[in-house]
């Protein structure tokens, strides 16, 4: 772990005592013809070296937009960052000049996506694409870059790496393509890896391989991992802590064990209750009623109130803040105490 010291992007001489990556009160909007959509509305989370943070949410919850904003790859326009800070080693990425930020991308923070096929350039051999990271960022020669690429392909366990160096993306299976993307993402030893639904497009046995690989790489290099997913099973398998997002906000934050044992937000509770269990066979599953909110027409008060079984009058008018319920866990519900104690619902 001597790398952090020699890293040119580290924040000067001052040692930084806070978290490795901190997102604070982030606000992102999309300006569309139909109106303004608040995709991310005051999101705060942090992650440390060696830690896995799972960001759980459905489509439109803002989980991917937050990640894209961290990476600085959000399409602007229509996206606009309205406020907040994203600190990497204490330095705000949002106020940083683009040239410096580009250096952090890949070397400090990198990202893998759901669709590996469209994330890879179909016109270049995979070895060339992996090697490009070293040619551009480290100024290695073509030959050295190829050698590094083989090394990385071995590291992500692509069989016969040397022979496959000059193959094109379409010649690999879905799982192998995801490995190639992971190889590119970890090429420059980033300190934070953001994985946006990395296994959603894959079969379960391949998913298990990829999650296994990510865990191993994390152990090897003590990376921080932000895992963005909608899969409650994957989260339970690998996460240390969880942020549950709904309608652009974090509605619950907790350690993985606390959250699964006893959710403190009605949405989380609803999600966990709707998982089919063996002893429920032949019975109705618990179903959260209604549909996810439309970002252009957000419900008043708590965005979840139209679907909530705990709803009372003030839920339709007052937006609940994300407050500490117990120990390190936080929930954005007026009645989180009751949800936690299982009074109803």
């Amino acid at each position: 772990m001597t790398k952090a010291v020699t890293e040119p992007v580290s924040s000067g001489d001052r040692p930084y005592s806070g978290s490795l990556l901190e997102v604070e009160d982030l606000q992102v909007e999309f300006r569309t013809q139909a109106g303004v959509a608040k995709a991310v509305n005051g999101v705060t989370y942090s992650v440390d070296a060696g830690e896995t943070l799972a960001v759980l949410g459905e489509s439109g919850s803002g989980k991917s937009v937050t990640a894209q904003t961290i990476m600085g790859i959000l399409d602007m326009p229509p996206g606009v960052v309205r406020g907040g800070r994203i600190r990497f080693r204490g330095v705000d990425l949002l106020t940083m000049p683009e040239a410096e930020r580009r250096k952090i991308r890949g070397e400090g923070i990198s990202m893998i996506f759901q669709d590996a096929l469209s994330a890879l350039n179909p016109l270049f051999p995979v070895g060339w694409q992996i090697g490009e990271m070293f040619r551009v960022h480290r100024g290695l020669s073509k030959k050295q870059a190829y050698a590094k690429a083989v090394e990385l392909m071995d590291r992500v366990r692509i069989p016969a790496a040397k022979q496959r160096l000059r193959d094109f993306p379409h010649q690999f299976s879905g799982g192998m393509r995801q490995r190639i993307m992971i190889a590119m993402a970890i090429a420059l030893d980033p300190e934070v890896l953001i994985a946006d639904e990395p296994t959603t497009a894959l079969d379960v046995t391949v998913q298990a391989q990829i999650m296994d690989l990510l865990a191993e790489l994390q152990r090897e290099s003590n990376m921080a991992l932000i895992l963005i997913t909608h899969d409650l099973g994957v989260v339970a398998d690998v996460a240390h802590k969880i942020a549950v997002m709904y309608g652009g906000r974090i509605v619950e934050q907790a350690s993985v064990f606390d959250l699964y044992a006893k959710p403190a937000h009605p949405y989380t509770k609803g999600l966990l209750d709707s998982i089919p269990r063996v002893d429920q066979k032949g019975q109705d599953l618990f179903a959260i009623k209604g549909i996810p909110p439309n970002l252009l027409h957000m419900p008043s008060g708590c965005a979840f109130h139209p679907r909530c079984v705990f709803k009372r009058d003030n839920c339709t008018t007052d937006v609940p803040a994300l407050l500490t319920v117990e120990g390190p866990r936080r929930s954005a519900c007026h009645y989180s105490r009751e949800v936690l104690d299982g009074v109803a619902g």
Binding site: D284, L285, F286, A287, K289, I291, N294, H297, V309, F310
Partner: protein, 316 residues
């Protein structure tokens, strides 16, 4: 604050599935065509082009509304007289009123543009649908036939055909001359429509809703007319609108080259051809027909653009 939340959860679990009744932004029933129309209505470009085309179409049907003069009446002594209060656009080489001839010229252009489009779309869609739906050797056959026509450079082909199969009669009538031009233009351009119809059809042919219809036992006719055609029509409409303008300019070009329309037909292309030699001395004789031709072609192209942006779901 502490009173227990008295909501019967069992009821929610069972009833929950029925409660998903309000979709986001749902309101009155509105089809995709209606959506496209609403989109189209918002565009100034659409209204401008539509107004221009309306003028040209009225001009084509009722030229008398615009001018009381006879476009065929020639007074040689007035040959190439410049514009005046009596003749706003001046006189042409034969001493005919340029304004009257330009007004009457709209008919040939509009007729050629519209009828060529109708014919090309008709043949193109039929061939494209047959090929796309049947697949296999039928598709290969229709595609190859189309390629034969598409392989010939458009204008060269038209010149070639028109100069060889020109009406055998000594003095063919206006209708026959126009018909020949229309047929030649459509013969050379239907493969473009066929190609678009085919690829558009293929893109929806394997959609799940077509599979669902097949699983219900729907006949091929039903699948084509109820599902495939309505869903592959949009790009065909766009290309038809835009190509109307290009047929008009093709007609003008051919007429200018002397192989397209000929007297007694009155056409902008002919007027331009007749007066190229007098460009310096009597610009007006070809200037006004040229302006009308350009504006007319432009109006169709603008309309096509407007329709394209309204129909293209990717832009919405």
């Amino acid at each position: 604050m502490s009173d227990p939340v008295t909501i019967q959860t069992a009821g929610v679990a069972a009833g929950g599935e029925v409660q998903e009744t309000t979709a986001p932004g749902s309101g009155k029933p509105r089809s995709l065509w209606q959506d496209a129309w609403a989109e189209l209505r918002k565009q100034p470009l659409f209204w401008i082009s539509l107004a221009l085309l309306a003028v040209f179409i009225v001009m084509a049907i009722f030229p008398q509304l615009f001018t009381g003069k006879d476009p065929a009446f020639a007074e040689l002594r007035r040959s190439l007289e410049p514009p005046s209060a009596a003749a706003w656009f001046g006189y042409d080489l034969q001493g005919r009123d340029v304004y009257a001839r330009t007004i009457y010229g709209a008919r040939a252009s509009v007729v050629v543009g519209v009828l060529t489009t109708v014919l090309a779309v008709l043949v193109g869609v039929i061939m494209g649908v047959i090929g796309g739906f049947a697949g296999g050797w039928v598709d290969s056959l229709t595609s190859r036939i189309g390629e034969i026509f598409i392989g010939v450079p458009y204008l060269l082909g038209a010149i070639l055909i028109l100069s060889t199969v020109a009406p055998a009669q000594e003095n063919p009538g206006a209708v026959l001359i126009t018909a020949v031009v229309i047929i030649v233009l459509s013969v050379l351009s239907w493969p473009i429509v066929a190609r678009i119809a085919r690829s558009s059809l293929l893109s929806v042919k394997h959609a799940d809703y077509v599979l669902a219809a097949r699983a219900l036992g729907a006949s091929p006719g039903r699948i084509i007319f109820r599902h495939l055609l309505p869903n592959s029509l949009a790009p065909i409409i766009v290309v038809a609108t835009i190509s109307m303008g290009s047929y008009i300019s093709a007609e003008a070009t051919l007429s200018f080259l002397g192989v397209g329309l000929r007297a007694p037909v009155i056409s902008w292309g002919i007027a331009i051809a007749d007066h190229t030699d007098y460009l310096r001395t009597a610009l007006h004789a070809m200037l006004f027909p040229s302006i009308f031709l350009s504006v007319c072609v432009l109006a169709f192209v603008m309309l096509g653009d407007a329709v394209r942006s309204a129909l293209d779901p990717k832009l919405r």
